[in-house]
Symmetry: C2
Subunit: 327 residues, 2 copies
C-alpha cells in the first residue's frame, strides 16, 4: 500500500511532516494547504502548494490529511470540519479539552464514514500509550511523567512578552533527584517545584532593568512562580548560536508492585531524547496517518486515539514480517 498525504498548515510541524514523508517508503506528499499567499510559500522539497480554501477540490486525490495547526484555535474548528470529507490526523494537545474535541470529531467522522485520529504526538501520544500500557500491566502502582530537558515554546513566548525583553528561550528540566527517587521505586509524593526546574536565556534591550525583568519572570503566575527558575542574560548572537534548536523529551515512569503481598517492585520507564520536537511529533503523526488510511480501508470510521489503534496499523510491513522480525 502507498498513500497520499495532504498537509494543512506549513509551520514547524508541517515542514516536519514533509520531511517524514520524504523518509518513508510508502507515503507520498500530495501537497501543502495554506492560508498564506501561495506565491510567498516555498516548500523544502518542492511539494505543491494550494490554498486551504480549495482543499475539497482535491478530495479524491488525498488518502489522509495531517493537520498541523495549533490546538488553541485551529484544530477545534478544522478537525471536525475536515473529518466530514477526509481521513484526518491531528496533534490536539489541550489535555483538559480532549473529551469535548473527541465528541465533536467523532460525530463528524461517523457521519462521513472517515477515520479521524486525534491527539497524536508524544504527549499526548507516545507518552500516553506508555502510561496506559504500564498501568494495565501493573495496576497496583503509581506513575510519573517528567518533561525535558527541552524547550517550552509557550514559556519562551511568555518571557518575550515582558517589557524590555528582545528574545528568550526557556528550558524545562526534570529534577535528577526526583527522577532518581522514582527510579529507585520510592514512589515519592512530588510537588511541582520538586519535579522540574526552569532555565531561561534572555536577550534584554539595551539599558533595560535586568533585575526587574528577572523578577517578573520568576514570579510569573502559572508559568514560573511554582518552580525554581534560573535566568541568564545573554546576547542575541549567543542565543542564535547556542539555542536555536527545539530539542525536547522526557520520561514516563511507572513503579508497580506484584506478589501475594506486593513484595516485588517493578519499574517501567519510557524515555525520549529528541533533537527536534516538531520533527519527532510529525513522525508520529505520519505513522498514525498510515493507520487511519488502513483502518478506513477496512471499513472503520469515527474518532480514534492512540489507545484505540493496534500497533501493527502503524507499520507499512505485513503482520508476518512484523512477527518474524520484531516479536
Amino acid at each position: 500500500m502507498s498513500f497520499k498525504v495532504g498537509v494543512i498548515g506549513y509551520g514547524n510541524l508541517g515542514r516536519g511532516v514533509e520531511c517524514a514523508v520524504k523518509n518513508s517508503t510508502d507515503a507520498e506528499l500530495y501537497g501543502v494547504f495554506t492560508r498564506r499567499s501561495l506565491e510567498s510559500l516555498k516548500t523544502l522539497t518542492g511539494a505543491a502548494v494550494y490554498s486551504v480554501n480549495d482543499v475539497l477540490r482535491h478530495k479524491d486525490q488525498i488518502d489522509v490529511l495531517i493537520l498541523c495547526g495549533g490546538s488553541a484555535t485551529d484544530l477545534p474548528v478544522q478537525t471536525p470540519e475536515l473529518a466530514k470529507n477526509f481521513n484526518v490526523v491531528d496533534s490536539f494537545d489541550t489535555h483538559a479539552k480532549i473529551p469535548q474535541h473527541f465528541e465533536n470529531v467523532d460525530a463528524a467522522a461517523k457521519a462521513s464514514g472517515k477515520v479521524a485520529v486525534i491527539s497524536v504526538g508524544w504527549d499526548p501520544g507516545m507518552f500516553s500509550l506508555n502510561r496506559m500500557y504500564a498501568e494495565a500491566v501493573l495496576p497496583n502502582g503509581k506513575d510519573y511523567t517528567f518533561w525535558g530537558k527541552g524547550v517550552s515554546q509557550g514559556h519562551s513566548d511568555a518571557i518575550r512578552r515582558i517589557d524590555g525583553v528582545v528574545d528568550a528561550r526557556q528550558y524545562t528540566i526534570p529534577s535528577q533527584e526526583a527522577l532518581d527517587a522514582v527510579r529507585r521505586g520510592e514512589t515519592p509524593e512530588l510537588t511541582t517545584r520538586q519535579k522540574h526546574t526552569r532555565e531561561c536565556f534572555v536577550v534584554a534591550a539595551e539599558g533595560a532593568d535586568l533585575a526587574r525583568i528577572e523578577n517578573e519572570i520568576v514570579t510569573m503566575p502559572n508559568y514560573f512562580a511554582d518552580y525554581d527558575t534560573t535566568v541568564h542574560f545573554i546576547s542575541q548572537e549567543e542565543l542564535d548560536r547556542d539555542h536555536r534548536g527545539l530539542p525536547h523529551g522526557g520520561h514516563t515512569v511507572r513503579c508497580g508492585k506484584t506478589g501475594l503481598n506486593g513484595e516485588n517492585t517493578h519499574i517501567i520507564e519510557y524515555t525520549l531524547r529528541l533533537d527536534s520536537n516538531p520533527e519527532f511529533t510529525s513522525s508520529v503523526l505520519l505513522a498514525y496517518a498510515r493507520a487511519a488510511v488502513k483502518l478506513n480501508s477496512e471499513g472503520a470510521s469515527g474518532c480514534k486515539t492512540v489507545f484505540d489503534i493496534a500497533p501493527a496499523y502503524l507499520s507499512h510491513e505485513s503482520p508476518e514480517n512484523l512477527r518474524r522480525r520484531l516479536l
Copy 2:
C-alpha cells in the same frame, strides 16, 4: 466486566498469575489445572485445583485460560489444543518458531471462534511492542535490545549440568559502555561480546576441580564462549542468601534520524527493572487475557500477538476514562 481465569500449570508463572489476579479488580481465579497429583498441590491463595485432563468439563465457567507451561514442549501442543475450546493466552518465547506456532494456533482458534494471544510477556511482549512502535515512528534508524541485569534460568541450568557443580546462578549484564554509545546516538555495530557480559555464581562439590569447572563454563559453546564470563565460587548458603530472586529487565533503544537530510537524531528507550521476572510476565499475561475476553465478546477470533491488539483492550477502564486520565 469481570472475567474468570483458568491457569494451566503451576510453576513460577502460574503462581505469578494467581498473584496478579489477586491484585486486579476485575479478574477472578476460577482454578488451577495441573498434571501433578491434586493432593500434593497447595495454592498460595487457596484457589481450587483440578486435573488438567478435566479442563473441558469446566469450559462454560471459564472466560480465558492462561497457559503457564514451557515453550519447548508444553505450549506447541497445549495452545492449539486448548484454543479449540477456550480463549487462551500463552508466553511462547522461542523466537524462531513463532511463525509456525502462530499458524497452528490461528487455525485452531479460527475454527472454534475463540481468541488466542501468543508470545505475551516482556520479550517477546512489551519489548516487541516498543521495537515495533519505535520503528514505525522512526523508520530511518537502528535498534538495540539489551537484556539484564538479570538471571537467565537457561544459563543457570547449563552450569548445573557440569560435573562437580551443585548449584549455580547466572546473571546476564548489559555492557554499560555499549549502552552509553547507543544512547549517545552513535549507532555502533556491536558484537555479541560487546553487548553483554555474563557473571556466574557457582556452588562446587567438595573437592571438585574448580579450574576445570571454570574452564568448562567459559568455553561452553552457544551459552558462554561468545561472552566475557566471570565465575565466582561461593557456598550454598551464600547462594541461597544472596541469589534467590529472579530479577531481570533490560532496554530496547532505537536511534532514528529525521529532517530533510537526516540532520536530527532521536533516541527512544524503553527500560524494565523487574524484581521478579515471572511475576511481571504473569502481569502482562493477565492484561492480555482481559483483552482476549473483550475481543472475543466483540466477535473476534483467531490468533493474535501484541501487535494486533489495540492498547485500550488491556485496561479494565472505559475508553472515556482512559482518554480523560491518561491521554
